[in-house]
Amino acid sequence: MMQAISDYFARLTAAIGQGWTRFWFTPSDPATLSVIRLLTGLVVIYLHATMLPDLVPLFGSGGLLPATEIAPLDAESFSYLNYLSTPGELWTIHLIGLAVLILFTAGFWTLPTGVLSLAVLLSDIHRAPMLTARAEPVAVLVLFYLWFAPCGQTLSLQSLLRRRRQTPGQSAAASAGDALSTLATISTRLIQIHLALLVAMMGLSKLASEAWWNGSGVWWLISRPESQLIDLTWLSETPKLIDAWTHLVVLFELAFPLLIWIPLARPLVLAAAALAWTSLAILTGEIPFALMLAIASLAFVSPRIVRACCARAPATVRPAAESLARAHG
């Protein structure tokens, strides 16, 4: 009997260990991460650049939010913007931050520019978290997992320059050689797990309110005059539609973290996610939030599909995509 129990636990630990190793350490193609880098970079550039006109009115000396006065609300988090107050300092550092974000988005030296991009975004957030909403935390999580991954291998100016320096034969060999990466797997898995946890949190936290049980949750969103993207208050004439929308939002957010891991269900779940994130944009008016959720969801898209899409891309991208596709058989 003891031997049987011992054997069982030996088999169990072996299976768990094997699964863990396969899940985290099987090298994979970073093509999807390159797309995520590009799209996340664009959203973060938008978030950062649109702060420029309000930098001095908000953070300058005599601005609405002096660092020392709002410190009691969030004094523990670091931001380099806390130490700047003159217009010259603020503009200079903000433009340097913008340049870093552009370099990262373009795929230049993604290790240092990724770390710096994360620092830029975190500083923007921590300087005045009351200005931010839901998009920024999602952007942070994606950037946090991208910087250490080889996300600049494709769809980047760096790869373009590398290819120009190489002969066609060298280019194909180099592309095939550096295609698979363990860090790409770890980065992808972390984005997947974090997104699943985030969506689970969104769903579970809704259950704490009766509004999401009785079908009125969506109504309280679309009736907020300042937040709505488009006026949907005419839906008050069809309350059952609002009920259904409310229940579908909760159902999706509870189902996504479970069903997304089933390969056969994944395409359907991703299609439903596209609808769900679009509906969130309509309900809350937060387009960057919906965009970031959609971009993070790309982590569940196979690199093969990304490669196939790249193969249909303009001529500058195609050679590398084709050589990598050949490398993957």
Binding site: P129, M130, P150, A200, W220
Partner: protein
């Protein structure tokens, strides 16, 4: 064993970029890159070393039964053990952050406090801050799940009265307006928290009003934060037809006194009738309003 030696340039060229990163990440000696070579680590705490040893043993056993069709991992077993340890710690911190988002237990709060410096500095948690800056639940139909507005009444030295509204109108792109709306909503949310939020509710009004009053060259002014009732679903038709007006409520009002070195607030109303979306259980759309 302290690790200070770097990779020489020849080896840098020979190894793959991610392997090079891996070396930099964990401060390994360059000899660790040779197949079967030993890897040197910086001095580590004994318990950590024991944990890694156990993990490695666990993984070695696992790999003994590995599926031959699985592509072989690129990393050494020891490195995988270290990374596994980091992944486990990070995922545990994330799990704590997610599960403490609403109604945390004392244990969850304690655990969250343990990871707070890590989670907060990386903005990976929405818990344990002074106000809900990111409401992932979108709405709980509570008295703070509203859009607020703020105004500052100020009279300049020439005796001209002015009213400054937040969020300002006509900003482009729209995300700028949304940022000011977030700011004003934070003011309203903190004010709507009542006495429990007393230490925080005046922080933003003081900063905002002080700045505006000073900008106008005045010495005092009045700061107000208002919320607007949300219409019930069954009353929407009346609201649209103009038969019913949406009620506004002042959630925070204070007189502002500005001196060269300080800003003082004299709160007029600690918490006037906060516009409730619902007072007690939310009504179901279609139900009659009391």
């Amino acid at each position: 064993m302290p690790c200070s030696s770097g990779l020489n340039s020849e080896k840098k060229r020979l190894i793959k970029p991610d392997l090079y990163l891996e070396v930099r990440l964990f401060l390994l000696h360059d000899r660790g890159l040779h197949a079967g070579g030993k890897i040197g680590f910086v001095p580590m705490a004994a318990p950590l070393a024991a944990a890694v040893g156990a993990l490695q043993e666990f993984k070695d056993k696992a790999m003994a039964n590995a599926d031959p069709s699985t592509p072989p991992p690129q990393w050494s077993s020891e490195l995988r053990s270290w990374v596994s340890l980091l992944l486990f710690a990070h995922l545990f911190a994330l799990f704590v952050a997610v599960t403490t988002y609403t109604r945390p237990s004392a244990l969850q709060s304690t655990l969250h406090g343990l990871f707070a410096p890590y989670l907060r500095n990386l903005h990976l948690t929405a818990s344990g801050v002074s106000y809900p800056f990111a409401r992932y639940y979108l709405t709980h139909a509570s008295e703070s799940d509203l859009d607020f507005s703020c105004e500052v009444d100020v009279t300049n030295p020439q005796g001209e009265a002015d009213k400054v509204l937040l969020p300002p109108e006509g900003l482009w792109p729209p995300i700028r307006t949304r940022r000011y709306q977030n700011l004003v909503n934070a003011v309203g949310t903190l004010a709507a928290g009542g006495e429990a939020n007393d230490q925080y509710s005046s922080v933003l009004p003081k900063a905002i009003a002080g700045s505006i009053v000073r900008e106008h060259g005045a010495k005092q002014g009045i700061f107000r934060c208002r919320s607007t009732f949300l219409p019930d679903i069954e009353n929407m038709a009346d609201v649209k037809a103009g038969r019913r007006k949406l009620q506004e409520n002042t959630v925070y009002e204070a007189q502002v006194f500005v001196s060269p070195n300080s800003v003082e607030l004299l709160k007029k109303s600690q918490r006037l009738e906060v516009a409730p979306v619902e007072k007690s259980p939310p009504k179901r759309p279609g139900s009659s309003q009391p």
